[in-house]
Amino acid sequence: MPQLTETFDRPEQATAAARSRGRAKGSRTEFWMLLPSIVVLAIISIFPFLFLIYASFMDYSLSIDAPSFTGLDNWRRVFESDTFWQSWGRTAIFGVAGLALELLLGVAVALLLYHAPKGRNLIMTLWMLPLFVAPVVSGLLWKYLLDPTYGLYNWFLERIGIHTQILGDISTAMPAVILMDVWEWTPLITIIVLAGLQSVSQEPLEAAEVDGASGFQKIRFILLPMVRRMIVVALLIRSMDILRYVDTITIATEGGPADSTKTIGYYLMQVAFRFQDMGTAAALGLTMLFVTMVMGNIFVKMMKKGEG
């Protein structure tokens, strides 16, 4: 009985006690709840990762089943090859140009929608549709639009006096695949930035209005600084995604013409599955994974900062 009285007398303390009891007991439950995921995740991520490291020291060219140890040969071949550096270079161009355009266009549309008095929801819904298009379909569709004989966009270009095979010309193929990426993924930047804009509090904006700030000043000095974190998050995700996908390029250009759209991911697929040189491909893969891991760490740090 005394215990019960105590519970009623000091409910807070009782809750706290129950809470800590729950924690102590719960930690074990939580461990067992997490365990299956961790085990499966280990099998599907750590094991392949270790295997990738192992493969990067092996020679698979004679047999996939019984590779032979070659030490640092694959790594030396990778770092000494021009194609490796050129592919990373093209990936960087693809990434920088693509992200710059996506950022510019994505933020612009987000700002316009933020200021639009009517129809924001409907326009946003239409604007985000390319996000749902499978990258392989995007590649196929753009190949059709740019087809030199039957393409709709090719026909438009011919009307304004541009007669070239967009995807068949080394000077236009890369800009074209960059535009495919921009078409598909700009809405991602818009939805993230718009969500940020909509959570900006009205007070500083009203204060600025009273002080006679112009619309552009409000955007430049209040809205944009407040969504800076969202923009960084969007850019981090997009840059990891650019390394992630090879579908569109595989379908639209196959890395050509004359390697002009051969990014590091496509190069890896070629080395592995066309040249059957798994060891070298493994070394390539590790260079890609390294970049993703660095960006993933920055992302986690940003998440923690956002929570705190």
């Binding site: 939580e30 749902f132 379909v137 969202m230 993703t292």
Partner: protein, 275 residues
């Protein structure tokens, strides 16, 4: 002032309309082309108004074209990986949200790096492992491959959804004698139900849309719809009519799914960083 404001809005909507045209014309053109006759499809100047025909679709779904088989494979593989990932992610995500794990930051970085790992760098070791295990060309292998990105995604998303569920109710239940797992099952899961639906649909979408894994791991009889689309490209040219119809069939259900979870889209696509 009013006039100025009006003209500013006019400019705003004109620019937005141009942006919409850029975003939508390719999709509309694909859908239109999929219901054209060969003649209409290749006529120049391009035709926007014509009598639609569904013969490409009819051909695709007829006994001769084996599109149904591709479609079944896609559905089976996507649903399986989604189920596995969401069930595991549900429990694991709850544990991550509620537990005090010492290595939480390390686990977070690991999960994110696994989710975002470049697909070619994942395909390669899996290929070598699958070759040894005889999993190449099998549905099991492909389900396994998709789980490499769906499980970390589900874990991560469920953790962010459970962090939003107030702990108080679970604690009240535990004071009433409920076990932790019971509290999870009876209180946390129903409260986080919209999050579970959103996570499942996004998992479904990621696997449905994949081409790279499917092109390497699936074989005759286990190929998915995106592979079917790529098979229309051959040395003799591309079957554009079928390609556009296949593309339409691939994206239509995803547009429906994506819009159904619109509210959670930002969260899912920003890995929970933006709510």
């Amino acid at each position: 002032m009013a006039l100025r404001r009006k003209s500013v809005y006019a400019v705003l909507y004109v620019v937005l309309a141009a942006a919409m045209l850029w975003a939508l014309l390719p999709i509309v053109w694909m859908a239109l082309s999929s219901v054209k006759t060969q003649v209409n499809m290749f006529s120049m100047p391009p035709k926007f108004i014509f009598a639609p025909t569904f013969h490409t679709y009819r051909e695709m779904f007829s006994a001769k074209g084996n599109f149904g088989e591709f479609l079944t494979n896609s559905v089976v593989v996507s649903l399986s990986t989604t189920f596995i990932s969401v069930v595991l992610g549900l429990m694991g995500g709850f544990a991550l949200a509620r537990g005090n794990f010492k290595k939480e930051k390390g686990i977070s970085s690991w999960i994110i790096s696994t989710r975002m790992a470049p697909i070619p760098a994942v395909i390669l070791p899996l290929y070598l492992m699958f070759a040894k295990a005889g999993l190449i060309g099998t549905t099991t292998g492909l389900i396994f491959a998709y789980t490499t990105f769906n499980l970390p995604f589900a874990l991560w998303m469920m953790a962010t959804f459970f962090k939003d569920v107030p702990v108080d109710m679970e604690e009240a239940a535990m004071i009433d004698g409920c076990g932790k797992f019971e509290a999870f099952r009876r209180i946390a899961v129903p409260t986080a139900a919209p999050g579970i639906v959103a996570t499942s649909i996004l998992c479904l979408m990621f696997s449905w849309n994949d081409f790279a894994f499917a092109s390497v791991f699936s074989g005759r009889g286990t190929q998915t719809v995106p592979v079917a689309a790529s098979l229309l490209i051959s040395q003799h040219g591309i079957q554009w009519g079928q390609a556009m119809a296949t593309g339409t069939v691939i994206i239509a259900p995803m547009i429906v799914c994506g819009l159904a979870v619109r509210k959670y889209l930002v969260r899912g696509l920003s890995m929970g960083a933006v709510k």
